[in-house]
Symmetry: C2
Subunit: 345 residues, 2 copies
């Protein structure tokens, strides 16, 4: 019998088909390495130098409106550009490239410079969900767009260069690597079972109740069995829908509630603004039907031991297999024990 | 015609089959985000508190010998354990796991606490290469070991918790994720062409001479066409051999020379001890013949703009596709322009 809490083992990620390595006995390893800066956070409600605050002028000279909830605009330093011609490059099948067309947007979650998602109230988070849905719809209306990635980098440790609460949307003309993988895995499962992979996965997780953090009418938040990051989680819709576009009003409210509770629990673990990269995975658009695609949102937070000591996905992880120390079950337990009231009150 | 220096585009990684995204126009993006600590480096030649220095006592009570060049021992906090029974776990094909057996070793590259690979002389680096070969041979002699990952995490930014120059070896009972991918890709190519993928890839790179950094009798160092990290490189043996085991004396000397020159060039870019995770990819062992497997070594360095500003592989990169700003050709140019004499003299 495999002892998850004691034996080094591998677990299979159903969504990618790849394995991760778990070293449960290793959590006692002492740490003498890099410690992150914990800058005191005394942000003002409004920062005259912030390019996201209402009324301020951005890099390209545009003035932000005096917005009241959330606000979206095209990234002034977009990694993808709408004006890109379609080109191919192939030398001897060894050097292979093609142009990629896209649109990169920034979404400010709140006019308040000093907040983060877990500190916002439910109606404010619901307004962000509404905007995500609206943006998804508008971008999907462009025939050439095949995939829309909605995400947030939270915290400087996750490459976020402005603490004003905000996320991003990158929409593009082909399918990203991770989406290709998840499509393949979900398609194979759906073909065989006639149900979505995540439908059956959620069912078994609810039955076992070892990794579930939140279980409300329309959503489940859990530490996936195959989590690679120490406190990695997923939010999964109970109804198998391909994208945020399908969410009803009550689902959007429940989603906002789930987001709020999960991020509050995160902040409470180490009494810090818990950094992460998070984003929705959704079905491709403008490329036929995807009955196998089941909407979900990943949270990849780097912290491991404290507010200042993270897990490094480096040598072995980059060259071989992602590796974790504490087990997903231990992480789920810690998350479950947290209060649903933010530590800052 | 695809303009690599101007148009956003995707490039195919031949070894994994996955794409990366290049945003060449984005290098002008201003940076207001996290800046790494640049602690002054005044390490002594010998540190009484370092668990790698000669004669010191380690966590498990063992005393290090008074070694003269390199020194190897089993990691006191191994992620993999030799004493692991073979176990399987499967619930409804949804929760899938299996135990993993392994051995984790640490290799001190030098008795000198204050050095790094690029600061060591050729005979000292050659001694490290000799030890890698010896260790590979000894580990491969254990029937149950199927793969041997030799690597180094250099710099605190890469999770290295002790600045004493050292690397690691993780040997294990099954194939890591990245090795599975590279085996699949190399096998398909070999089957079709009767030559290794990297043999033909090196040939086209030498002909084009746009990404080659070092070209000596037995090795090539280049920025791969599909590099994801800003200054990512690969060392590839000209002779298609499956592992370090096959290297002759002259090849080992040439490899040491290549390692030294490449890491000196790295340090010279930003006049800093250039952090990276690096490691060899080699054929599996004890599992038949792998004529398609061609030895190579990857370098994944995080720095982008300066000694203190790195590239963050976060939100979009984790959820969708790895993305880079400067082109591989620009990075190769910068590396080529560096002196082969270390900036510290
Ligand atoms: O074994 P070390 O050097 O203490 O640890 C370092 O390398 C390991 C292998 O890449 C990683 O799992 C750790 O996160 C990292 O801190
Ligand atoms: O676009 P931003 O927020 O300036 O940049 C951040 O997110 C991007 C998308 O994940 C990354 O490519 C950058 O490395 C990171 O710093």
């Amino acid at each position: 019998m495999l002892d998850f809490a004691e034996q080094p083992h591998k677990r299979k990620n159903l969504l990618t088909g790849d394995y991760i390595l778990v070293s449960p006995h290793r959590s006692k390893r002492p740490w003498q390495g890099q410690v992150e800066d914990l800058a005191p956070d005394n942000r003002p409600q409004y920062d005259p130098k912030c390019y996201l605050c209402p009324g301020n002028v951005r890099a390209d000279g545009t003035q932000n409106p005096d917005y009241k909830d959330s606000f979206v605009f095209v990234n002034d330093f977009s990694a993808l550009l709408e004006e890109t011609s379609v080109e191919q490059f192939n030398e001897g099948n060894l050097l292979i490239a093609e142009s990629e067309r896209g649109i990169c947007k920034v979404i400010s979650f709140s006019p308040r410079h000093d907040l983060t998602l877990p500190q916002m109230d439910l109606p404010a988070i619901k307004a962000v969900v509404d905007l995500w849905q609206k943006e998804f719809k508008e971008l999907a209306a462009k025939e050439w767009i095949k995939y829309i990635q909605i995400f947030e980098n939270k915290g400087s440790i996750m490459g976020c260069s402005n603490p004003h609460p905000h996320g991003q949307i990158w929409a593009e003309s082909s399918l990203p690597v991770e989406i290709e993988k998840e499509t393949t895995q979900q398609k194979a499962y759906f073909k065989q079972h006639g149900r979505t992979l995540l439908q059956d996965y959620v069912a078994i997780e609810l039955k076992k109740d070892e990794r579930i953090i939140i279980d409300n009418e329309h959503f489940v938040a859990l530490v996936p069995f195959w989590a690679a990051w120490p406190y990695e989680t997923m939010i999964i819709s109970k109804r198998p829908v391909p994208s945020v576009l399908a969410f009803s009003e009550v689902e959007k409210e429940d989603f906002a509630r789930t987001l709020r509770e999960l991020t509050i629990r995160y902040d409470n673990i180490f009494k810090t603004s818990f950094p992460y990269s998070a984003g929705m995975h959704q079905s491709p658009v403008n490329s036929g039907e995807y009955p196998e695609w089941h909407w979900h949102m990943h949270f990849y937070p780097p912290l491991l031991r404290s507010a200042t000591v993270k897990k490094f996905m480096v040598g072995y992880e980059m060259l071989a297999t992602p590796q974790r120390d504490i087990t997903p079950e231990q992480a789920a337990n810690t998350l479950k024990q947290q209060s649903t009231i933010h530590y800052k009150g």
